[in-house]
């Protein structure tokens, strides 16, 4: 970590209410201000728009087009340029406009960014934070909606972060940027504007690999990340009315994973439902279920269940997309099925 400023405890409640997009903008602003080696590159990130969703608003004006650097449509060059800059002393923050387009530069990410520390025997490393956004439910269709964290988690050398709250988004992004490994930072655009929350001012860092206990409970553990954490919270409220006391664990980062917190919670509740938006078959839920079963064999009161998207591409039409997505009703029914 090259740059470190006074770090604020994110647990200290702030009076400020921000959207997730404001929180992310603030984290980028802080990082750019803190360290000259930090720079952003990506398509259309310059003002006046500051990106398709406005994540970068004001930043190119404040830091200049050298450090908030718009690029052509050229994902391989974006990712490659970030890697080359990273192994020679910079901390680039490339943006891949939507997660599906990471497929266009997959080689740079999985064959190079993830492996260079290892292949060089530790001589070079790749302190790149690849930001991207995605998520179904917006009617964007099959090529603009996929959650693809599963394959990333399967790529040793990458770290994978998916924040659910504005405060987490800021604190996790700052940690990712100053982390010395390649981090894929997945922002679910549904959360950009829909969820607001208290966000401390200034620089603070939330460590990777520490889950957030979003709700304490005793009867069942709901494990999730990103948007679906909020669905789990809503379902937990519903269940509470019926005397089912659900614990909700927000993983925050999938690699590194807070295995300890997960196993401790499940050992306590003896029932678990894993919820994610990615398609079910070989989603990260499979790894979690396999691990829980291995570690807590014979201690569970019910099978580990997964609630996830259907094994299909993301459909366009609203009723089809709703059928595709894991819903609160699915979560609730699955939990009830455990008792």
């Amino acid at each position: 970590m090259t740059a470190q400023s006074e770090v604020i405890d994110p647990e200290v409640k702030s009076e400020r209410i921000l959207t997730q997009i404001q929180a992310i903008n603030e984290a980028l602003d802080i990082a750019l201000g803190l360290d000259e080696t930090v720079f952003e590159l990506g398509e259309d990130i310059q003002d006046p728009g500051g990106g398709g969703f406005g994540v970068h608003k004001g930043l190119s004006t404040k830091y200049g087009l050298d450090r908030v650097r718009p690029t052509p449509i050229t994902e391989q060059a974006i990712m490659g340029a970030a890697i080359g800059a990273a192994i020679t002393g910079m901390r680039p923050i490339p943006e891949i406009m939507l997660m599906n387009f990471m497929a266009v530069c997959q080689d740079q990410l999985i064959n190079h960014a993830a492996k260079l520390r290892y292949m060089s025997g530790g001589q070079t490393h790749v302190p790149v934070t690849v930001r991207t956004t995605t998520g179904a439910g917006g009617g964007f269709g099959a090529q603009h909606s996929d959650m693809l964290e599963g394959p990333l988690v399967h790529t040793p050398g990458l770290k994978v972060v998916i924040p659910s709250t504005p405060a987490d988004a800021k604190g996790l992004l700052l940690t990712s940027i100053f982390d010395d490994d390649p981090v894929v930072f997945i922002e679910m655009h549904h959360l950009y504007f829909s969820i607001s929350g208290h966000v401390p001012e200034g620089d603070y860092r939330i460590p990777l690999g520490k889950a957030r206990l979003a709700r304490e409970g005793s009867d069942v553990t709901l494990i999730s990340w990103g948007r679906q954490v909020h669905d789990c919270m809503a379902v937990a409220d519903t269940l509470a009315a019926d005397g089912i006391n659900a614990e909700v664990l927000d993983l925050r980062s999938l690699v590194p994973l807070d295995t300890e917190a997960m196993l401790a919670s499940v050992a306590k509740t003896r029932r678990v439902v894993i919820v994610h938006e990615a398609v079910r078959r070989n989603g990260f839920g499979a790894e979690l279920a396999a691990t829980i079963n291995e570690e807590l064999f014979g201690q569970l009161a019910a099978p580990v269940r997964r609630v996830a998207a259907a094994n299909t591409p993301v459909p366009y039409s609203a009723p089809l997309e709703a059928a595709y997505m894991p819903s609160k009703a699915d979560i609730e029914a699955t939990v009830r099925g455990l008792f």
Binding site: T71, P72, I73, T74, P315, S317
Partner: protein
């Protein structure tokens, strides 16, 4: 670079006008319907770019193939995708060309030869190469037209596709609709060369730089390229200069587009200009034009009504069409 100058017949110009007017009116209707709050979703207007696909439609056979992108409504209409099912697809209806599964960014209509719409910039080019390869291997005489934007010419797939098409002398036309912007960025800011058509030389490919808003020049360019493809003389790269009247996507505030540039472009509306020219030249009377437009109006209104009154798909349809047979998902 081929010089394009010869005159085209009045019949052809009327054909081009009719198609272009249809696209223009359809677009106006679509945007009005959105503004009225009757439908939501994303809409990538192609207003301003009508002349390009309309010129191609005067050259192509129904059996020829067209590939396009998310901004593809003009290409789809010009290739003859039925307006009813096309609109229904945009509206996400069960009666849509793709049963509501694909949506605007993924329209396919095999019957009319609109074989692919992709939402990933540049990805249609290699697929278009394959479509042309198939036509050549099947000796079908079909030609493939691959449409894409100025921004797409910077991505790797562009390079790989052009090299392969040139190498294999495939019956394909790469149509770069240079509307001068890639999302919110002027194309010249992303490009290390002043004309995209100059990139054809990297593949020894026939290349044409043309005013895509000029129906005569555009028709000649399209005809030159399609004739060459059909004659086994390989691919062509066309850079057709044009302009987007309504920014990247519905709701775009267009702050990054200079006012005077936008105004000038709209003032030179190529569809209105062609309309006026046809009347001025005496090719069509005012009345004939009005009649054409009335016919289009009816067709378009019917399509929107058809789509609006069509049912949404049933949730159970979400899990079909993933694989050929019913294997367990």
């Amino acid at each position: 670079m081929t010089a394009v100058q010869s005159r085209v017949s009045p019949d052809v110009l009327v054909k081009i006008f009719t198609t272009a007017a249809k696209i223009k009116m359809y677009d106006e209707t679509y945007r009005a319907t959105m503004r009225a709050g009757k439908i939501g979703g994303m809409y990538y207007s192609a207003r301003g770019q009508e002349i390009i696909p309309s010129s191609f439609s005067a050259v192509l056979e129904p059996s020829d193939y067209v590939l396009t992108i998310y901004r593809g409504i003009h290409d789809q209409i010009a290739k003859g995708v039925p307006l009813n099912t096309l609109t229904a697809e945009f509206f996400g209806r069960a009666t849509g060309s793709c049963k509501g599964k694909g949506g605007p960014m993924h329209v396919t209509d095999v019957a009319s030869g609109l074989i692919l719409t992709t939402g990933v910039v540049g990805s249609g080019l290699p697929i278009g190469v394959g479509v042309a390869l198939s036509a050549k291997m099947r000796k079908s005489g079909q030609v493939a037209i691959v449409n894409f934007g100025d921004g797409a010419s910077n991505i790797g797939a562009f390079h790989e596709a052009l090299n392969m098409a040139a190498l294999w002398e495939l019956p394909v036309v790469f149509v770069c609709q240079n509307n001068q912007y890639a999302e919110y960025t002027k194309y010249s800011l992303g490009m290390s060369v002043d004309q995209i058509s100059k990139r054809g030389a990297a593949y020894t490919m026939r290349s044409i730089h043309v005013d895509g808003n000029d129906p005569e020049a555009m028709y000649e360019a399209a005809k030159t390229a399609v004739d060459a493809a059909r004659a086994g003389e390989g691919p062509t790269l066309i850079e057709a200069m044009t302009y987007r009247f309504y920014g990247h996507v519905m709701g775009d505030m267009m702050k990054y587009m200079p006012d005077d540039e936008l105004e000038a472009a709209r003032a030179a509306d190529p569809v209105l200009k062609l309309r006026a020219d046809l009347i001025a030249a005496g090719t069509l009377t005012d009345e004939q034009v009005t009649q054409i437009e009335a016919g289009l109006r009816t067709e378009i209104d019917e399509a929107f009504e058809y789509a609006m009154s069509s049912p949404l798909p049933d949730a159970s349809d979400a899990t079909t069409d993933v694989y050929a047979e019913g294997i367990a998902l």
